[in-house]
């Protein structure tokens, strides 16, 4: 996306909105909050882009989004629950889930939410958005080593929780 291209910017915003909203949902577990923070982050991206001050829109947008969670209250805001109606799934839903899959998803998301916001952000950026370690470090303003440490801690915590719940090896 060129700095001057309004069409490119609109395409970028349209393309990133769903992914960013999902990342935000993984961070907070609430679709309305996810919507709000995604709009806020992308609005800042658009405003900054008009001033020609954005070199890497992806990094900027995700950095804004993740920073928003740093400023939010640390209390647990949402408890993940399994969807009751698979037929109400959105466009990217991968078909009906069996009961074991739903339980594992709920457990994993709940475990994810037990992590600190920064650790959770590393896990989301690395394992959902597919950012490399150095890209994640840029987005979060961390060193590569810190990202690796957060990731290792997050994986260990999730694995421990899933093993404890008896779902770790099941698939």
């Amino acid at each position: 996306m060129g700095k001057d291209s309004g069409g490119g910017l609109h395409e970028f915003v349209t393309g990133r909105y769903p992914d960013m909203r999902r990342s935000a949902f993984l961070m907070c577990g609430d679709w309305s909050v996810a919507d709000e923070l995604t709009r806020w982050s992308l609005a800042h991206l658009v405003a900054e882009h008009r001033r020609g001050e954005i070199d890497d829109p992806d990094a900027y947008a995700y950095a804004q989004l993740m920073a928003a969670f740093q400023h939010r209250p640390a209390r647990r805001e949402h408890v993940f629950v399994a969807a009751s109606d698979p037929e109400g799934a959105g466009p990217d839903t991968r078909g009906p889930h069996d009961g074991a899959d739903q339980i594992r998803t709920v457990l994993l998301l709940d475990a994810l939410h037990e992590l600190t916001p920064r650790c959770r952000a590393v896990m989301v950026l690395r394992h959902f958005n597919g950012f490399a370690v150095d890209e994640t470090a840029d987005v979060l303003g961390l060193t590569d080593k810190r990202v690796e440490a957060y990731e290792a801690a997050g994986l260990a915590a999730l694995e421990r929780l899933l093993v404890d719940s008896g779902s770790g090896g099941g698939r």
Partner: protein, 256 residues
Amino acid sequence: MTVIQEQLGETLKQAFHGEPPVADGIEAVYRRAEIIHRRRLRTVISSGVAAVLLVIALGYGLTTAILPGSASRGVASPTAGSPPTPPADPVLAAVRTVIAKDLRVVPREPVRGDGWRQYTVLSRESGHPRGLIEVSAYAAPDGICFPVLADDDACARPDRAGDDVEYVRYADDRDVEWQVNEAIARRSSDGRVVAVQATGERGTTDAEQGRPPLTGPQTARLAADPRLLSAFGAEERCNGPNPACPLLSVPVRLPA
């Protein structure tokens, strides 16, 4: 790669089951971006205005500090009711320390002579003249006899202002057309004598309107002010016959 790593990505994707539609999210992004843009614009404009006002205020402050007399320069003659100019006149400076706040003192032509000065007093509010203050200096190294109004041969017992200055004050309001407050002070250390005479504006035919611009205590305080005693040149004096020197209601009686 651990089991959890293998499962994590896929499991996270399953979490979006029941995801609500995007709806007008994209439009909302642009609406909000416009709000942010306007807010920033307002901030920039406000900051610019604030900076300009600050520069103006600083400029005014510096100008006032560096050129304290600038506000009163270029004004017409003193008798026309203009604010007093700040010449290097230590006598005027001393007079201004005692004058009432509702009055202004300006030099009166002829402003000065050898051993004397005279000033017009004006009302600040109306600009009308309120009288005259005349100050004259004398040399009396051997002491003086402070006059007694009732007895030409007697000397008054002076009051003291500090260790070095003695003074006597006089008042005469018998003639409403020429009401006078006067004080004569002498500094013992060098024999310098100063007489201050404040007379009300004549022609008012009203005792209140014609009263002197300095009260008796103000007149005495001014006469005994060391700054006034030092305000005249060392050689300035009205000792000899000098028709330009003020005609005092109570003349200074110098030793022969």
